[in-house]
Symmetry: T
Subunit: 150 residues, 12 copies
């Protein structure tokens, strides 16, 4: 596990966390979530890079830059989840295991949020647990990377 | 009303106004429309900022920057109207009243233009009146802001 | 503009305004809204006639009577919006510009209210601003009539 | 229960009862059914008014007239069941409990009869029992009014 | 055939014939078409009554009044074609052969005009031949009545 | 009527009545409802057997056991309403009149509850009146059995 | 009208007329219908050619051969009505007025028969009158040809 | 957390784990997974009960028995995920937090597996991580219970 | 059974059997299958005629020629299965029992192959057993003919 | 073939055979059909076990018990055909060839019966031949087992 | 490339080229296009055979005749594009690379032309360039054959 | 042709060519393809500019900058093909002929790739030929530009 390199991506509007509808998305800021993730990563002896953007293109650029130096991706695609086939293609092209997470239970919200164009190229999906979705997702991703390396 | 701060947003391709299919979108340029809006704003003693971008991400960034210093948003999302759930989420997250406008009557055009993903988070919608859609939209937005403050 | 003749039509149940679900439709009665519209019309030096009916047939009769003495129609078709192809045909046959208005934002309500069979034959649509939808609609209609006469 | 005022409405073509397809709708005339309902009402010490019309507008007018002097509505909307959003809005606006009845089992007939636009605003629905649907519906309506008053 | 009684019905907006979109509906007025039909009826020694209304309810009333004194119905339901299940039920209840006609070819127009709720209860349908649709429809109806009487 | 044998069936989760979401399903337990039904049955001089199960198979077994000794079935199929074609087939095979009841108005709830696979094989349906749905259903069922025996 | 040349086409299985389901299609054979049509044509002083085939390709070949020597087409496409876009294209390419006829009322039969791929390129449609559909269709076609020549 | 009582449910065919399509579902048996879960539960000082059944009714019975002595449910509903509204209602009625897990990524399989009728009543969903889905699900469930108790 | 006359039809591309995708359709040629069928027919003392064509029209012609001298039809319509309403009508018009067979399991292949327009007019369907589908189909057809003659 | 072990399964309501709608399902009882199947099995020197249940869970249990001692499954899933993904998964998990049979032609009945969730995991399907469907299905299954063993 | 054998197929109505709607399909005749193709083929040292038919069956026959002596197929299926699964199967069975071409941009025309049943079995598709579609298609096909042979 | 100016655009992820799924997209890098295109352009004496971006906004900006200095556009929109109405509007607004190309045959891949929102505003489409799609597209575009200039 040691030395494993993970890219953590946050899609549009996730930089508003803590400010936007806290009853739905929780009261923690994205910076606080990133801190939690980095701390957990240190404990697990893996390297994580985090990146948030409101731009689909910037997220794809970031994925492409990391290609070749990467063992897995953890992503909360925000609302791009529901239509960004470009992001999906970039994630599939990365060639590394992908875990998709959501803070809220997207299946208990508006119908357009029930369908993810990203899920078919992910290893697994975790949603509905607030910031814990990220931490569990990191854990799950590492388990999947380990399993593949076996 | 005095001191009320309004953000006016123009989505992709609206910078082509006056150049692109004038029989559909009219002969006025976006700069001319922005001038009309600013003049009307001065008359009404409100502050307006205007912003156009072809980039979904840049539009979302602009909305987020304005959050906290804003009393309302007037937007013509261009073709993002029909698929940008990310823009919708940013507008909903802004927490201020939103008015959606279109130059043409989108319900009299191609089927894909009949559905707006933005409308459910708007206070109201105005379409079909060319540049007047914007001016009426500004007026409507101010009325709604006043009503809320009552 | 002077001498311009406008027919203002209110569809089924709009005579209940002020009595019916005021949190959704506002507290003003239809008589009060008609007064506001007539006052605005006087200021703008145009003639308006107003008519409400719960009967699709009576609304169509009224449109047909006015044909030939009419420069524009402002209509809130009420729930007929969603199925009355007969009303649509009468409005299209009138040969004058049509503006469709709604008190509430129909796109933020039940799915059956998201589709208007009238919109494709209107010049433009305004919804979501309570009684202001009518006043803005009158203004918009006059602008469109003027533009055509240019 | 005493003094409770109930409006009983019959939609289009129900005045043909006894004449039209008796194997489907039974052999009793509407007048006979109204007599049964009035007799039952006397027994239960409630006042009922009955009204049939082939006109959607007239049915809505009748509901609006009764508003304010009414404790419940019993309606068989006839074929308006399947498309009259205007009637639905009038019934919802009445503010009193509504029971929807049908003589035949609409779910065992043509597909277009399987969907009622009225049901979502009713307290309950009874169908398939011929004239008994009305009598059971009256009974059910009174039970619901009593329950609310408790 | 002699003494055969036919009711000819015209739905909403057909009283505008000759005035409304003549390139689509022809230049003859409804009065002229009724004259043609009456003349043809005299030649064929049958009695015809004609009736136009913009009101669904009035059309149904007229059908019900004629029941028992009627051998066939010829109807152009106008836009009610596409949604009036109440009219359909009245026509079916009449118990006499029904011929549905349209001036224009409804299958070459907007999608909503491609579906008729009346057709399943008609003997036959004729559309696309302008006023000839009516004359051919009358002829066809008489043939069908004769055939049944054989 | 005397000696008439009725089977009353309750589908999955109805044994939770009184415990589960009382604002939706009422505060009476199933045992209390069964008592009410048995008392009413005694008054009407009919025999009723009641049975609840969370198992589709057990419900079908119970229907089959009763076949040949049965004059009618009253059923609240619970959520099996929406998908159990096996239960539907068993009910249809029983050869006796069937009345379907629901405590809540299923047409005012989630979309998946708007469709019943059982309704097409029922004589009639009653829903929305809480425990009264059962009592009215029993009454209706007896009326239908009597009518058939006439 | 004199000298007008009409091609009458019968699609697959129409050669079985008189033999196949006479209660649905009548008892006349295709030869008898062709005789009736030829007799009527002589009375009207027009030339008709008739052709039946079970082969889509042969029907198209026949249309193409006639091109340039043709003033109108009368066709009963049989079941090709519902899927033969190739036949539709051939008919549209012929450049002459087209009348589509059916013996039965296709809108009162199985759902797949409710949609015609030919209708959008026809002048008009006549269905439901047995062999009279053809005779009325011939009459209608000649009227349309005359009208165009005016 | 101590003393927290969790019910772990496995739907149809999950007792085949290790035997059935191991490339899809992994090589561990259900007994082994239950052991892992119990071990983890001991570490976390919570009580878990596990139950597998191929019978929808038995699963519902088990949930109902546990009601009142339960702090959370962890379920892999197997193929019942896609149609068992009865199971959904039982889970919703339990009144405790629910976590839904799947061994495989259901969104990367056949279309019928993309829709879960259970998800809308769950707190969160975890899928795609083999037996880790269960362990992460247990962890997530405890976090959610703790959060609610705060 | 003796003297029973059966027509065996093979639709488009079935003459390629043995050459085309043998892993899907088997290695036997159509001639070999016809031999097997004729041998089986001799054993059963029935007469069979076999016919293959790539032309829908030729298949219909063949069915029509056989009418009146025929006791049953066995058909593998090839890809015509999915759209040839003309073939369906010819088969229905034949008036004799029809058995539809397919070499492969059409429900385990591309979605367009899941729907047969022929099945509703067949007595029964057999698919998925390679050349055995034909032999079982012949057997089944004879059983059905015998049963009818009883 | 000798020693080949076949499990024959009958789904819900098939125990009613002979009693239930004999015009649709035939007059033979299930016991008689099982006798026919056992006799045929003896002739073919194979072992068959038969099992009927109204419970999805019991059918799945029976399949799982047989796993490892089984060479093929013949099933008539009754109405479970149309929704039991759990049964489908059990059948697929069995790892042996599966033949699906139906007494009636399910494609000539109500639309919900046109779709089988079991067919995609079967080798082949036979329907429409009454009890012969089972006998042909047994024969077909043995042919497929033999072919695989070659 | 030398000696490569290409079959060029033209579907229904393409023999009308130059005569039929030249603004849509161009002014060149099919003979002229075939000449261009043959000239280009000579330049490229490949053999081409061309064939046009209005008959689906004849096109399939032609493909089957060429099988075994063929290196590639270039086809414009005309309107068969949209429904001929038989043609699709013949093309797939040919075992050689297939290029599908259209003169017009089928995606800018009527909705039924947007879907091709042939495309999934083609190597590639070219449309919208008039006769150039064929020439580019020939070039593309040869490139693909060469690539495969590498 | 000389001096003709062509803009060649590559959408998201096309910069990964040669690295990403080479069996699907080929082994050539985008730089190599651009070289091939530039070489071909020199041979044809036209100027080409090439541009790739992962950002929808940047692609639209690039199109707008080129407007007025441009004779045609060749675009592979990548996954934006399937949802970017903004890109479509920019391309339509450019006013020059557009050719859409894809490396793979999008109609033989996942269903979401079968629909292009760009195609209706293109002159023509070429897909499935790897890097040859671009070269053929350039050739086709020049032919179309020349044709227009004639």
């Amino acid at each position: 596990m040691a030395g494993c390199r993970i890219l953590i991506l946050h899609g549009p509007n996730l930089n508003l966390l803590g400010r936007r509808e806290p009853e739905l998305y929780g009261r923690q800021t994205l910076a606080e979530i990133d801190q939690l993730l980095k701390k957990r990563a240190r404990d697990l002896d893996v390297q994580v890079g985090t990146f948030q953007s409101n731009s689909e293109g910037a997220l794809i650029d970031r994925i492409q830059e990391a290609m070749g130096h990467l063992d897995g991706i953890l992503i909360n695609p925000g609302a791009l989840t529901h239509y960004s086939y470009s992001l999906r293609d970039a994630l599939a092209a990365s060639g590394v295991p992908l875990v998709e997470v959501h803070l809220s239970n997207i299946f208990a919200r508006e119908p357009f949020r029930h369908h993810s164009v990203v899920s078919p190229v992910a290893v697994g999906i975790i949603c509905g647990f607030g910031e814990e979705s990220y931490l569990l997702g990191l854990e799950a991703l590492l388990k999947m990377i380990t399993k593949r390396q076996d």
